[in-house]
Amino acid sequence: MSKVIDALSILLVLAAALSFSFGVGALAERRDLIALYWLVIGGLVLRASVELLRPRSSSR
């Protein structure tokens, strides 16, 4: 199960990069709201991936 979570966290990081790419791509098409949406999604996905790897409660 731990390996599945590791794989999920890697996938989430890649998904975050993809979301950021969509956001910047939307900026190129002058769709500012869509860009903002994808950038927020990217930030949330990235946060989830980090929390999956090392939960804040266990940090020293």
Partner: protein, 247 residues
């Protein structure tokens, strides 16, 4: 002694190599620097009616770029000053002096993007990575004693995972060059840079965490910790879907 520590202490390292050998040893720095200079400095300077001062500044940047490796080994502080501060300083001065011709030079976005990557490689080239054939324990300044052994070795998968993450983090940087409007382009480049930093930071933690399985908390704790961002993510996707339906 690493080059960085040599720079910090300002000491001389080894004997002076020939200029050709110095350039060859610094090829990983000079070649990206030359490419960055050609694509982002020389082309806008040559192709437009640029001021003579901009052309002189661009030439000075090239001279600093070529001279820096010649001093990097014998006088590392001077070499670094030429390669980093003088070269980048003249590059910035050239862009400022170019003014409108630089903005009018739309050029090929991919060429500009590759120039940006070349600048990044040039910056990394001035780092202080240890050479493959150099053994730290052989350094005369090393603290004597039993060498410290690593607690664990990362799995072979880690470099591959990290490479994929770095490659994916660079995608927004390339896409930012597609943005045409000046204000949006500035914002896009800032966002792309920030997202690349965040993705590589998080990705490095994720990749290195693969080799530290014992230190990780139980699976349920990890899932619970990610519950809030995942719930917000689900909410955002729901709102997005709703917006698509309503629109």
């Amino acid at each position: 002694m690493s080059e960085l520590s040599a720079v910090d202490s300002g000491t001389r390292v080894g004997s002076a190599p020939s200029p050709l050998r110095a350039l060859r040893d610094r090829a990983s720095t000079v070649l990206p620097g030359l490419y960055a200079w050609v694509t982002t400095i020389a082309l806008p300077t040559v192709q437009h009616s640029a001021k003579a001062s901009a052309k002189i500044s661009a030439f000075c940047a090239l001279v600093a770029l070529i001279l820096a490796p010649l001093f990097a080994r014998e006088q590392p502080r001077l070499g670094r000053a030429l390669g980093v501060y003088v070269f980048i300083g003249f590059a910035l001065l050239t862009w400022v002096l170019l003014g409108a011709p630089l903005l009018q030079h739309a050029g090929d976005p991919w060429l500009a993007a590759l120039g940006g990557v070349a600048f990044m490689l040039y910056a990394l080239g001035w780092g202080s990575l240890r050479r493959r054939d150099q053994i730290p324990e052989d350094d005369p300044n090393i603290i004597p004693g039993t060498p410290l052994m690593p607690r664990s070795r990362p799995p072979a998968l880690v470099p591959a995972v990290f490479a994929v993450i770095v490659a994916s983090a660079l995608v927004p940087t390339f896409l930012a060059f597609r943005v045409v409007d000046a204000e949006r382009a500035l914002f896009a480049h800032a966002v792309a840079l920030l997202s690349a930093i965040l993705t590589i930071t998080a990705g490095s933690r994720v990749a290195l965490g693969l080799g530290q399985r014992r230190a990780l908390p139980p699976t349920l704790d990890r899932l619970n910790a990610a519950a809030v961002p995942l719930a917000l993510l689900a909410l955002a996707f729901g709102l997005g879907f709703l917006w698509l339906v309503v629109r």
